[in-house]
């Protein structure tokens, strides 16, 4: 049996009409980013592995496809995330002293799917803001994320905010070793209370109480006020709560909530983090947040914040695509006909020319109207 049509596991085609939807989304988002002043960049699909997996992006190691470069003999990686590439461009190539706003849209590959039933090829679209350490930059990125989610037409979504800095301040003050910190972070992310109890049991009471409390701290402004009373008054903690408060106040559509145990992302995040969830999707559809050290390995430490999403998955959460429609025109070299078709196309119509002998397959053309000559004039009428 011939299996030439078979694709590798967790890899898929996007067929009509969904490919049109995805391409439309991509354009709409890039136009939105442009309107907010974000400049597109197109980093390469492959890079030396050393540069792809630098510093905090090391989490990506298992996700990265690797090949040997036939020219240099060095290991190459196919990018699993564009964010570190944008950080490299900002740190090393642009060298702007002020703020740099970059955006991108391109495929990335994951050697293993991020979650069951996720594709290994993603169409990652995102925006990054470099060079500003204040909450104002996070606010702008969050605003852009919300605008982007609305622009995609998603009906119901929620964005959950967290803050890695708060957890870092607590674990630093508690003097945790790296191992314990990682285990605690994993237990918090899973809201795994029993493991959390076990890990916190050995700590002085002030810290164990604080860590135990984190999974309970979920909600809006009231919760933040409660957190301010109940958590130890460390500078890192109050700063994190202040920043989250500013972000919450920007919530116009009542879609934001804070989850202080949410520490997700690719592991390079250092401050505010956000994750967007949409109905019908079991995992977050967009992730983002602050990552202030990403450029260090490329020679320049720059504060940074941004988000990205996978357009393939966003497209999966959208309602079915409506038929495109269009005008079916006969084939011919008649000057009137050729000009009429050109006019209709210039006016934004989709005009499909019916090649000779194709009359029997009209229904495959996705057209709802037809161009025909009536009393010497080319007129558009409904396809009957």
């Amino acid at each position: 049996m011939n299996h030439a049509w078979l694709l590798p596991e967790y890899v898929e085609d996007i067929l009509p009409p969904y490919a049109r939807q995805v391409e439309g989304l991509r354009r709409r988002l890039l136009e939105l980013f442009d309107a907010w002043g974000y400049e597109p960049v197109c980093p390469p699909l492959i890079e030396y592995l050393d540069s792809l997996l630098t510093g905090a992006a090391r989490d990506l190691d298992l996700k990265t496809f690797k090949v040997v470069d036939g020219l240099s003999g060095r290991m190459l990686g196919v990018r699993a995330d564009i964010t570190p590439q944008a950080a490299r461009i900002d740190a090393h190539l642009l060298n702007r002293q002020g703020v740099a706003r970059l955006c991108y849209a391109g495929p990335v590959l994951h050697a293993r799917p991020a979650a069951l039933t996720h594709s290994r090829e993603l169409l990652q679209v995102g925006a990054e803001l470099f060079g500003h350490a204040g909450v104002e930059a996070d606010l702008e990125i969050l605003g852009l994320l919300l605008a982007a989610l609305r622009a995609t037409g998603l009906a119901d979504f929620r964005v959950s905010l967290g803050h890695v800095g708060l957890f870092q301040a607590l674990s630093q003050a508690a003097g945790l070793t790296d191992d314990v910190r990682q285990e605690l972070s994993a237990a918090l992310q899973a809201k795994d209370r029993p493991s959390l109890e076990a890990l916190a049991a050995g700590l002085p009471e002030v810290w164990s109480d604080a860590f135990r409390l984190l999974p309970e701290l979920y909600g809006g402004a009231d919760m933040l006020a409660q957190a301010r009373c109940d958590l130890p008054a460390l500078p890192g903690v109050s700063r994190a709560l202040d920043e989250l408060g500013v972000l919450l106040r920007s919530d116009a559509g009542n879609v934001l909530s804070v989850d202080l145990a949410d520490l997700r992302g690719y592991g390079y995040h250092t401050g505010v983090v956000f994750a967007a969830y949409a109905g019908g999707q079991a995992q977050a559809i967009a992730l983002g947040g602050r990552y202030d050290n990403a450029g260090a390995i490329f020679g320049r430490v720059r504060p940074a914040t941004g988000f990205s999403l996978d357009l393939r998955r966003v497209s999966n959460s959208l309602p079915a695509v409506a038929p495109r429609g269009g005008i079916l025109a006969p084939w011919g070299q008649d000057a009137d006909l050729v000009q009429r078709i050109a006019e209709l196309r210039a006016a934004g119509e989709r005009v499909v020319v019916e090649l000779p002998g194709q009359e029997a397959h009209r229904d495959e053309s996705d057209c709802d109207r037809v161009l025909a000559r009536e009393r010497g004039e080319w007129r558009v009428s409904p396809l009957g």
Partner: protein, 216 residues
């Protein structure tokens, strides 16, 4: 906004009933006598689905169920990725143990540094456990009657759940090391908790207080 809760038949279902009752949820049918896989409850917005115990994390991870009750053994084997595990329900308690034939010198076998042949249903858990001990193992995946493997020379030791120890004793085996205390956990889909927080949070709270009361 409706909620789906995944449960397995048998001990876990029986012991979850009081917790469901605490959350104001009563199943309309008994899965032991009904052949239905989707069971309604007294609450129109809550339904139960009956799945194999090992499949509970998969259903919840995919969002096919919002909540589920799964043993720690199943979660350790699954990895628990993408799940919240907010409550230890303290039901279906037992222990994950290493067991050997009576008279087998486990300590010496582990010290010798050769490869130990381990028969188990819990391949992932056993791999991690022995790797942390620094022992090389050959894992033999079995689907049942693990106790037989060391008796007929298929393996040196087994890794399995032990509750009373009766089966081990009857087959002349002895538990030599504990891997983990096992009990059932409430697991929650991450997106569901964010999107249906107002409905799910009271259920979690009811389960938590009922579980704490049951333990006391």
């Amino acid at each position: 906004m409706s909620i789906t809760l995944a449960l397995s038949k048998g001990r876990i279902f029986e012991e979850t009933l009081p917790l469901l009752a605490a959350a104001g949820i009563t199943p309309l049918e008994n899965p032991e006598s009904s052949r239905k896989l989707i069971i309604g409850t007294n609450r129109p917005d809550v339904r139960l689905i009956i799945v194999r115990a090992t499949d509970v994390p998969t259903y919840v991870q995919h969002g096919a169920a919002d909540l589920g009750v799964a043993g720690k053994d199943v979660l350790m084997e699954h990895g628990g990725e993408g799940l919240y595990q907010p409550v230890d329900l303290n039901i279906a308690r037992c222990r994950m143990m290493v067991a050997t034939p009576v008279g087998f010198d486990y300590e010496a076998a582990v010290r010798r540094g050769a490869r130990l042949r381990v028969a188990t249903k819990y391949v992932q858990t056993a791999r991690l456990f022995f790797a942390a001990k620094g022992v090389h193992v050959d894992l033999i995946k079995l689907y049942g009657s693990m106790e037989l493997a060391p008796l007929v020379g298929l393996a040196d030791v087994i890794v399995d759940l032990v509750s009373t120890g009766g089966t081990l004793k009857a087959n002349n085996l002895a538990a030599v090391e504990e891997i983990a205390q096992i009990s059932s956990r409430l697991v929650v889909n991450q997106a569901s908790l964010k999107l249906k927080h107002d409905v799910i949070q009271p259920i979690i709270a009811a389960f938590r207080s009922a579980a704490a009361a049951g333990q006391a």
